[in-house]
Point group: C2
Chain length 215, copies 2
Amino acid sequence: MTTPPGLRERKKQATRAALREAALRLAVEHGPDQVRVEDIAEAAGVSPRTYNNYFASREQAIVAAVTADREERIAAAVAARPAGVRLADAVTDAVVEQCTDTGGHERALLLITTRPALREAYLDTSAGIEPPLTAVIAERLGDAGAHTARVLAASVAAAVRIALEGWLRPAGKEEAAGSTGAGALVLPSGSLPDQLRAALAPLAPAFDAAERRPG
Amino acid sequence: MTTPPGLRERKKQATRAALREAALRLAVEHGPDQVRVEDIAEAAGVSPRTYNNYFASREQAIVAAVTADREERIAAAVAARPAGVRLADAVTDAVVEQCTDTGGHERALLLITTRPALREAYLDTSAGIEPPLTAVIAERLGDAGAHTARVLAASVAAAVRIALEGWLRPAGKEEAAGSTGAGALVLPSGSLPDQLRAALAPLAPAFDAAERRPG
DNA sequence: CAGAATAACTGCGTACACGCAAATTTGCGC
DNA sequence: GCGCAAATTTGCGTGTACGCAGTTATTCTG
């Protein structure tokens, strides 16, 4: 099942990593807006066209450097919990644990999240946790719950996004209150773990119900 | 609160509608890939630059023509339900009701969802239901539940996206089973209402819990 | 180990997205 | 009506995203 990766796959990961790191380094050095994909590609030793085979936008490589392989880490952390604990707790703890660990790039994160485009790209990365989360949740729920697992994983991803938005709201500009109206009155804006737990809490009953039912 | 919209706002909506309809008409006439934003802008009587003031991509205008104002219709449908019914049911019924109504554009939808880029843009529209849904759910849950409302609305949006993906999976190519593995064994692929209800069902416990608790 | 098959890299060309600043249009108080 | 402030439209310029087809590198098969 776990065939040792061949040269091809290793080279691909190396290229991806080189692009990530080059993107972040250049962004920190010259400022996020002064970096073109051409520069990143050159620094990583590939053609600009190849850059776009790995990342669909200029911003993705930069945020990927701080996001790293968060998705797999979350999934692994969930799988590592003993089977006895509540699935909702396992997921919540894993998410908090892995999202808080920025891998020593907190400085870069601050720089990044001030630029709207990068901020948006960073928030979009939360969608990436859905596939691996789906896999581990499905494993816990059994075959009959595969469909449920997908929905729960997507909901978690959405909640993480909301938590991140709330967390770096102070960093960004004050936004238009918009048609939602009431939401603007109180903006708690606690620490990131607090935001994450608060956002995930409403989903706990859904996890409990899924765990209780066979499918 | 409901100030009669001035000339400015009416013109803006008219321009938006003109762009939507022009985009759809040209896409149906010449094929989705043979339409440039320049063509759409010209047909709507505005400059290409103005097109991008209304839509951030070439595909958005086309899909907006079939999506129309689904977001507001869903929110209105939820608000229209009597306060006695379970919130989960109100939301589910409203979503099924409004997502099934394609406004007579089912032919266009079929044409659209065969192109990957348009398919993706169409799926992305489901994210747009979050803000209005947040507002109506927050109204039902009270001020203390504003935060919960946001998470539930985002989860509903994610579930709708999953339902749409499952619905038009037969239309698209067979996709790589990927690391999720188990999910590929059974692909039910029922009707759209079935897909929607199946995707929303796992969230019902979360709605029930939110309704039961004060906040 | 040779040759076929498969996958990745690259250059080119086209269309797109969007920041910016000037020109035009709308709203509003007088 | 008049003129000012705010919002919208527009052209321009730059950088970006990606389909396509050819080349090169890796993997598979006998």
